[in-house]
């Protein structure tokens, strides 16, 4: 049975890294696009190859469009691999440029969760009852508070001090306790091992004990947790975006008549999803589904990598 498990684990790992590679390639393609197709230009209509008359954006995926500005002035021909938003901007370019700041935010949030979780977990695992009680108390409150509402309230409260800072704190306040519990369990497990008791008997203590006997076991556990946390933070970012909590303002694009279509201005995946509700009402599914699936694909890739790594860990289940 072991070889089956190893093969399954290897397949999961290959799928995870393969997905990450494919996403990186797509991001590279999006980055290679000229700025006018994803940033500076707003387009009013276009002639899609094969159609008789002009068509208003959003353009569909895999469409080759002769694009015109509001002036009207011909902006040239463009191939929309994943379609466009209601401003005729290429969704691949938008998502590619939104991915980097979003992943930076995810990395900072995961690092903050790890730092707090690691410190609390070590204190809990090394026997500090006070920290364990405080952690349990705060954890109970956080658990009792619906996580999305908590993140929104904290982000809104801290936004005047800087929106990035508010997002990091708001998204870190959830999830650190899982890491703390994991670290505490690992430390407690290491401390009950025979080698650990022997080391203690031989007088190895304090920082040296931690360095020699705890860190080697903690490192793989935390490496795996990083992948799972990255996945969870990405999903949280998307859900916050859907509830209109995101970085930066939006731009209202006024159409003929009274209709106003908002467009995002600061590229970040959460913000790309912030207008989902309105796009759904207008039956414009492309601008909703493309960034949402980008989040799903990234989160899935991290999840698969984490699952594959967990199978390799000595203390894995």
């Amino acid at each position: 049975m072991n070889w089956i498990r190893r093969r399954w684990r290897a397949s999961v790992g290959v799928a995870g890294f393969g997905l990450l590679g494919a996403l990186a390639a797509l991001v590279a393609v999006g980055f290679a696009e000229p700025a006018k197709w994803w940033s500076t230009g707003i387009y009013a209509f276009g002639y899609v190859n094969g159609s008789k008359g002009p068509q208003l954006p959003p353009f569909g995926p895999l469409s080759n469009v002769d694009v015109w500005t509001v002036a009207p002035q011909n902006a040239g021909n463009h191939f929309y691999l994943l379609g466009s938003d209601p401003g005729g901007r290429d969704l691949l370019g938008l998502v590619a440029h939104a991915t980097i700041p979003s992943l930076e935010l995810v990395a900072i949030v995961v690092a903050a969760r790890l730092l707090v979780g690691l410190l609390a977990g070590l204190a809990m695992g090394l026997g500090s009852r006070l920290v364990a009680s405080i952690s349990d108390g705060i954890g109970s409150w956080i658990i009792g508070f619906p996580y999305l509402a908590l993140a929104i309230v904290v982000i809104e409260a801290l936004a005047p001090r800087g929106k990035e800072f508010a997002f990091v704190v708001g998204m870190s306040i959830i999830g650190w306790r899982d890491i703390a519990v994991l670290v505490a369990e690992t430390v407690e497990r290491v401390r009950t091992q025979p080698f650990s008791i022997a080391a203690d008997a031989m007088g190895t203590g304090g920082l040296r004990f931690f360095q020699l006997h705890v860190v080697p076991f903690l490192r793989p556990v935390l490496t795996i947790e990083i992948a799972f946390q990255a996945s969870a933070v990405l999903v949280l970012l998307a859900e916050l975006g859907y509830l209109q909590v995101f970085l930066g303002p939006v731009l209202d694009l006024r159409q003929v008549g009274d209709n106003t279509i908002p467009l995002i201005t600061q590229l970040e995946l959460g913000q790309l999803l912030a207008l989902s509700r309105r796009y759904i009402l207008y039956k414009q599914m492309g601008p909703v589904l493309v960034p949402a699936f980008a989040v799903v694909a990234m989160a899935l890739a991290f999840e698969l990598v984490g699952t594959a790594l967990r199978g390799r860990s000595r203390f894995s289940r």
Binding site: I143, A159, I280, A292, R317
Partner: protein
Amino acid sequence: LGPVLWYNLSLLVLIASLGIVLVFSHFPRIWARVGFLSTLGFKMSGVLMATWVVVTYAERTSTGFLSGASAQTLNASALASTIITAAERSLAVMLAGTVVGTAIGLGAAYITVSQKRRSLAAVGFAAAVIWVFPTFLTAVFVQELQAQVFNITGFAVGGSYGNVDPVQAAWAAVVLSIRPAAYVYRRARLTLQDAQAEDHVRTAKAKGLPWRQVVNRHIVRPAAPSLTAGWIASFRLMIGSLPLVEFFFAYPGLGMQLVLAIGIAYPDQPGHFQPDLAIGLVAAMAAILLTLEAMAKLLQQWLDPRLNELRISLA
């Protein structure tokens, strides 16, 4: 209304919890059974106070949704009535979601362990995919499914949008249950796989018992307390995404009321931040969750009497 109500309520709950400790903590056997009430009270008191502090701080500093509390203030009885009505609606959705999610998650984990087929590994992959699906995306697909059914059959299966409607509640429950089902499956599968490695399972297999009997009697039964812990964690997840799901379906339960109370609005509608209502709704959701957690602990003790003994010795 605000500070006075929340201070007093928090202090009252705290005093009641301390009273329980003072009266019962000297009797270990009784304490093992009623101690959870004091824990519940301490946690509830903390939730009330901490939520009030956070919301009040947010109200003072925010320049966004939470800036400028609404003039539409509620008196205590109107507040209680709004919360109770919303709680009844949400409880119905959560109950249905819990039944669906638990049945799917635990059922799939049980089948995966009891059938031992390699093809069932695909269930694990499916659970990983479902797990990373943001809840609103699932809701979007469900709404599209409703639209397609209507286009094809002419039969409206979506229920009444924005109203309390059993059909709408059922759809919300389905969406609410999908991620928790994936979570329950993953936790339960790990728990059951761990239990398979126990000595007593090896002994049962060596005695030649049929595999199904080994699974039912020697794997699932001893693992029941851990499965309960996984289930309660999934419920926590469910209550966390309740605001999003109810907001999506415009189902006026605790979640949607909370989203609206913190000033988020539907497109083209003005938002009104209502701090008292927000704190009350959070307290109601926390009360539901904490009560269920306490009940789950009692259930664990009933499923594994050794836990009861352990808690008595700790007391």
